[in-house]
């Protein structure tokens, strides 16, 4: 197995694209190294992108933020401004693994590992995060919800690498939240995950919302009907009841050891309500 650590993503993309055997991008490695060891994958080439400066930083851009693809969970947590603007996204990212894993894991890795239960992905979808992708043919922008298309399946082409995620500017009264259900309190994989981002006007009416769901379908979902249930309301009981129904209608989960289909569908509604209320409370306080 070869190891390359180029200092530009263009060079990394060329390395990946020109390798005829299996090649993998190495970011934090917290999933990749486990899969290597278990021989789930046997690549002939690893391309470490942590030496590429643009992947290593969080920058403010157009009133929002750009998060490099190898920024770790611990670094997200330590960025006070990012956390204030996008507390839900940072919470989702910080639920990945232990303190040790937080020292390495990345948003891009959580997404590209291709697990429908990835904790940061529903939060990124709710946030409206857009990935900048670098490939052999150049750069393009891809919405996070369009990247993972099934378990271990991505829409990215051979040689394409996530460079960074762009988070949009925030309105005056806007915030987000992420909750997951797990049978214990720490160190577990989501049975259901839900991210909600919402914006209020001066009178407290919801003018914009996005709802992301994880672990209830073959891929993380953006649930447009759930957002519609909130937009134009004061996020009152009637709106929350509609939100629950819309979220449950979007679920098509599997039964597994972590939860049955019926349980997941039910919990998704409950979590969406609770997550929306946290986001609402935060948006009101701004």
């Amino acid at each position: 197995m070869r190891y390359e650590a180029p200092d530009t993503l263009e060079a990394a993309a060329q390395l990946l694209a020109s390798e005829s055997g299996e090649a993998r991008v190495l970011a934090g490695g917290t999933d990749l190294l486990v899969q290597l060891k278990a021989e789930v994958i046997s690549p002939v080439l690893l391309v470490d992108i942590k030496k590429v400066p643009e992947t290593r930083k969080i920058t403010e851009e157009d009133g929002g933020f750009r998060i490099g693809s190898t920024v770790t969970g611990a670094e997200l947590k330590e960025h006070a401004k990012l956390k204030a603007a996008w507390p839900g996204l940072v919470e989702g990212a910080n639920l990945i693994g232990s303190t040790q894993v937080q020292g390495r894991c990345t948003l891009a890795g959580n997404l590209c590992n291709g697990s429908p239960a990835a904790d940061s992905v529903p939060a990124m979808i709710a946030a409206g995060a857009v990935a900048t992708v670098v490939g052999p043919k150049g750069r393009r922008e891809v919405k996070v919800e369009d990247i993972m298309i099934g378990p271990r399946k991505l829409s990215l082409e051979k040689g394409e690498i996530i460079a960074s995620f762009k988070l949009p500017a925030r309105a005056a009264h806007a915030s987000d939240a992420y909750l997951r259900f797990i049978p214990r309190t720490e160190m577990d994989i989501a049975v259901v995950g839900c991210g909600v981002s919402l914006t209020l006007d001066g009178s407290g009416t919801c003018t914009d919302a996005r709802v992301g769901l994880g672990a209830v379908a073959a891929r993380p979902l953006l649930v447009a009907d759930a957002a519609k249930a909130l937009i134009g309301t004061k996020v009152d009981e009637a709106a929350l009841t509609k939100l629950e129904a819309a979220v449950r209608a979007a679920c098509s989960p599997i039964d597994d050891k972590r939860g049955t289909k019926e349980f997941r569908i039910d919990v998704a509604g409950v979590l969406a309500r609770r997550t929306a209320l946290i986001a609402l409370e935060r948006a009101r306080k701004k």
Partner: protein, 159 residues
Amino acid sequence: MSKHHVSTTVNGDPVEFLCDTEQSLLDCLRNELGLTGSKEGCGSGDCGACSVLLDGRLVCSCLVLGVEAGGKTVETIEGMATGEELHPLQQKFLEHAALQCGICTPGILIAAKSLLEKNPNPTETETRYWLAGNLCRCTGYDKIIRAVLDAAAEMRKGA
């Protein structure tokens, strides 16, 4: 295939080693550098027995490739005591009998040291969450948590 020539700093000393891409940092520490204090429990980032600081950041050395340590600083359990003088955490682990078989202990000490560097006065809850990635199959954790909190108190007094 030729091996990687890795230059790094371990516990303050510049060191060099040769490794294959497949070798984890844990493997390199133990088998190339003879630093066997860091343990392999699970080898998949779940148990924390291989915890080290990489550029000051707490990580599982089983989830880092040896080659990735090039140009970085690594701190392991071997660097924790100063000569014969134990680190306050090590001393408190002895006083509280916060270990039985000892396999998890180096990782827990390194993780606890990292916690106290960031937060010299952690609550019990913060301590338990910080150490959630360090598994101990003997002690039931209670003595470990008490030892960490006691060491923190002592280190605050000394500071």
